[in-house]
């Protein structure tokens, strides 16, 4: 119980710290957002000061002392009011995020789970059959797929499967002429558009899990207690799963929790390459347009996601590994 309270207190403290930093950082950046917005309109040209003034009023730029602004910021945060996006003006940040988040959660959520399960299972299998043809093939293949830069694999897939063979659409989350809605044709279109990015994520992402699991498990299988189990004549299968895999999966599980946490931020590479309407592309645009309210909120989401994932991983660790709960006892 004390462990839980400690973790919870830590979670709340880091959350407050993140929120405060999130408030401060954009305010430390030089420049006037209204002027930056006008500059986006005119490009490399003179900026009309009168237009900057009007845009400043339009955006409702913060006024008052820093403390006053901070109070207002926390108040708004607690009420789920994250302000108006500069890029997608006049839509509130939450509306814009609500449109992008499902796409990212579905695409990245599904593929993260698939790559984790696939990679871990293959890694465990490779470790328990160390030295066999399966181990060799899996390791070499994973070596290739995991070390290719993501965008290279993505562009090759786009070129071959999309451009040359025309099996899949080259970009977008759904057909350009369609409006997002709950209809069979739309869902089918969305699924069809997500196959190529999903495929690329799974192909490039599985290798990492596979290596982590395989190496951990080989290490664990070399431990004395495993040797004892073997000597006692326990079935191979039981040794591999109950002794090897259960202990070896711990680091991978942390990694999995972390990747679920950062999931809300989307994947900038995947989404920009495939013009996918998710959080990654949104963040990319927000940064490119100095859209501080939108950037702040996405960063906040990522921070909260990571913190909660960390918290859950800590709790899970405590359940899986009693040593963590008591603390201080070295392995």
């Amino acid at each position: 119980m004390r462990y839980l309270i400690k973790r919870l207190a830590f979670l709340l403290f880091t959350l407050w710290l993140a929120v405060t930093l999130n408030f401060l950082i954009p305010r430390l950046m030089p420049g006037n957002p209204a002027q930056i917005m006008v500059q986006k309109l005119v490009g490399e040209g003179p900026v009309n000061p009168q237009l900057v003034r009007a845009v400043g009023i339009m955006l409702g730029l913060p006024r008052g002392t820093l403390w006053h602004q901070y109070g207002l910021y926390v108040y708004n945060l607690l009420h789920g009011n994250f302000g108006v996006s500069y890029t997608y003006f006049p839509y509130p940040v939450m509306t814009v995020i609500a449109q992008a988040l499902p796409w990212t959660l579905i695409l990245l959520g599904t593929t993260t789970i698939i790559t984790f399960i696939l990679g871990t299972a293959l890694g465990a299998l490779a470790a328990s059959r160390r030295g066999t043809w399966f181990d060799t093939t899996a390791t070499i293949t994973a070596n290739f797929t995991a070390t290719f830069p993501f965008f290279w694999t993505a562009l090759m897939a786009l070129y071959v499967l999309g451009f040359v063979l025309h099996w899949f659409p080259q970009s977008g989350g759904y057909d350009a002429a369609m409006m997002p809605q709950w209809s069979a044709t739309f869902v089918l279109s969305a699924v069809y558009h997500s196959v190529l990015p999903a495929l690329v994520i799974v192909v490039t992402g599985t290798g990492g899990w596979l290596f982590g699991m395989r190496n951990n498990m080989i290490h664990v299988l070399g431990e004395d207690y495993v040797r004892l189990a073997m000597a006692k004549g326990l079935p191979r299968r039981e040794i591999a799963l109950a002794y090897g895999a259960r202990n070896a999966i711990l680091p991978n599980l942390t990694g999995f929790a972390m990747s679920l946490g950062t999931l809300v931020g989307g994947s900038i590479l995947v989404e920009t390459v495939f013009s996918y309407p998710g959080m990654g592309y949104l963040l990319f645009n927000a940064v490119g347009n100095s859209d501080y309210p939108l950037m702040q909120t996405i960063f906040l989401f990522i921070t909260i996601g990571t913190l909660i994932a960390n918290f859950v991983a800590d709790i899970l660790y405590g359940v899986l590994d009693p040593r963590t709960r008591r603390g201080g006892v070295s392995a």
Binding site: M29, P30, G31, N32, Q35, I36, Q39, K40, L41, V42, G43, E44, G45, P46, V47, N48, P49, Q50, L51, R53, A54, V55, I57, M58, T87, Y88, F89, P90, Y91, V96, Q99, F151, W152, L155, L158, Y159, G162, F163, P169, Q170, S171, G172, G173, Y174, D175, A176, A177, M178, M179, L269, E271, T272, V273, S275, Y276, P277, Y281, N285, G288, S290
Partner: protein
């Protein structure tokens, strides 16, 4: 220039050369008047419906809402549009006659009341008043088919700004609670097009059957796909999926024009890009020093190398030439163009009391070595190259010039705070030269103060006589030459590429009736000039 910057940003990320984004659905290529696909919407991958004409969001708004008159962004030439005529009763009152027989796209007649309503809306919501019209207006009212603008003080030059305000229907906007944040997803305007369909990836405008000059509109549909800042934009343009775009293309001859007689472009030079020195600090406050710098810069070389030869060098007169040549003082030597004459630069410095030490470094009359820094927003590669070339040009004169590239925000803030020695920035470039001079001399952005200029501007703004306005302009141009408050280098370009396969009649250097860029208000001129290829 707008999209060029965005594109460079994308290039810098290095995502790669051939991202192939989804485009507009393919349309029958056999049709004689197919939809015109316009690659101008940089938002990506998806966008939101916002056709509010004051929000500067979706470019399609320009084809839906119309102003009282179209002002050519370069020459300032005015074409009556929703107004048929206007005159100044005196320097404090403007009377404008509205066009008869114009209807809103919902069928309601357009009247002078709509015009008065629009201007009073700007008064109630200053966020919509991007030109600060109510800084000088005292009232706007409708009288029959006339709109009367009363000014607090003589403000003749505000006419150009008034003419460009998009007019909105009173019968719809009077019910809008907050027109600043209203996205206007179902716009009703007087323009040649209405919104037909909208999805987050593209929207389609169809011809407005109520349009007051419907016979001039031959393009039945306009398609706006998202993602014009994308890597794929160039591919789409070249492959014919897009027919009109605004892209910076290096080697435009080989990448776009070559091999296809229908592929055309026009990159007219617009607002001058200038070297600005901090006029509050010595030795930059010395006009002869600034003139010497101007003579020492090889503009032709800069234009050819940093700007791919797309734009011409700029005149010191601050005017956008040749578009504004009617405002040019005929007595100006060489039309205000400063030639590359390092010897003259040296002589000017000598005459101003500058010296050189034993190592060849330039010293101010009080004996300090001359050095300064040119700041450019990071990523504006052509400007960075320009500054590097200026630094090289000034080296033989014994000046040590360094180049810094802060973020845009910091670059802008440094100018506001005066914490800079040199920057590159746009100067002038307004359709009406009055406003070019006004922003330079009056708003005091770069720390230049001149009572003479202030008097000339006040006189220009209070006279309705064109001859007198010209006289004032000539004197301000003389002041530009004598004082050299900024050093114009070259004219910044508007990128515009168009495909003449289905439609002809585009603006070009020979027929510059409008700019060819698809994101300015004068697209209304272009769209009413396009004809189906016979």
């Amino acid at each position: 220039m707008f999209t060029a910057k965005l594109r460079k940003g994308v290039l810098a990320l290095g995502v790669g050369g051939f991202v192939l984004a989804a485009g507009a659905s393919s349309f029958a290529k056999t049709a004689k008047t197919p939809p015109l696909v316009i690659g101008v919407e940089a938002a990506g991958p998806t966008f939101t419906a916002n056709f509010n004409p004051f929000a500067n969001q979706r470019d399609g708004r320009l084809y839906i809402y119309e102003p009282m008159a179209l002002v050519n962004p370069y020459s300032g030439q005015v074409t009556p549009w929703l107004a048929t005529a206007w005159h100044f009763q005196n320097a404090r009152q403007l009377r404008m006659t509205v066009r008869q027989g114009v209807k809103w796209s919902d069928g309601t007649p357009f009247t002078a009341k709509d015009v008065a309503f629009t201007f009073n809306l700007l008064k109630r919501f200053p966020a919509l008043d991007g030109a600060d019209l109510w800084g000088v207006l005292s009232s706007v009212s409708a009288q029959g088919n006339t709109v009367i603008f009363d000014f607090k003080k003589p403000a003749v030059q505000t006419l150009t700004e008034i003419l460009q305000v998009p007019i909105v229907p009173a019968h719809i906007w009077s019910h809008v609670k907050n027109p600043v944040t209203w996205p206007d997803a179902h716009p009703v305007g007087t323009g040649p097009y209405v919104l037909q369909s909208f999805t987050p990836y593209q929207y389609v405008l169809a011809k407005n059957t109520h349009y007051w000059q419907a016979n001039k509109v031959q393009v039945p549909k306009l398609v706006f796909p998202a993602g014009a800042a994308n890597q794929a934009a160039q591919l789409k343009l070249v492959s014919g999926q897009w027919q009109w775009a605004t892209l910076f293309l290096p080697n435009v001859q080989s990448t776009w024009v070559k091999g296809n007689p229908y592929h055309k472009y026009w990159f007219p030079g617009g607002a001058p890009v200038a070297l600005v020195l901090n006029l509050k600090k010595p030795p930059f406050n010395n006009p002869r020093f600034r003139q010497a710098v101007s003579y020492a810069i090889n503009r032709r070389a800069i234009v050819n190398k940093a700007e791919f030869g797309y734009v011409p060098p700029a005149s010191q007169a601050l005017l956008t030439l040749p578009a504004q040549k009617s405002w040019l003082n005929p007595k100006l030597a060489n039309r205000g163009y400063i030639p590359y004459e390092p010897a003259k630069a040296k002589q000017l410095l000598k005459s101003a009391g500058f010296r050189w030490n034993a190592h060849g470094a330039l010293l101010t009359p009080s004996g300090h070595p001359v050095s300064f820094t040119i700041q450019i927003p990071s990523g504006w590669t052509d400007w960075i190259q320009t500054s590097d070339m200026i630094a090289q040009d000034l080296k033989p004169l014994g000046m040590s010039v360094t180049v810094e590239t802060p973020q845009y925000g910091a670059w802008a803030a440094n100018q506001t705070n005066g914490s800079f020695t040199g920057v590159l920035n746009g100067a002038g470039g307004q359709p009406d030269p009055y406003w070019s001079f006004y922003y330079l001399f009056h708003s005091n952005t770069f720390g230049f103060q001149s009572p003479k200029a202030a008097a000339l501007l006040a006189n220009w703004n209070s006279t309705t006589s064109h001859a007198q306005q010209l006289k004032d302009a000539y004197q301000l141009e003389n002041l530009m030459m004598q004082e050299t408050p900024v050093i114009p280098l070259f004219y910044g370009a508007n990128w515009a590429e168009y495909n003449t396969r289905y439609y002809v009649g585009w603006p070009n250097a020979k027929n510059p009736y409008a700019t060819a860029a698809p994101y300015l208000q004068d697209v209304l001129m272009v769209i009413t000039h396009l004809r189906a290829r016979g």
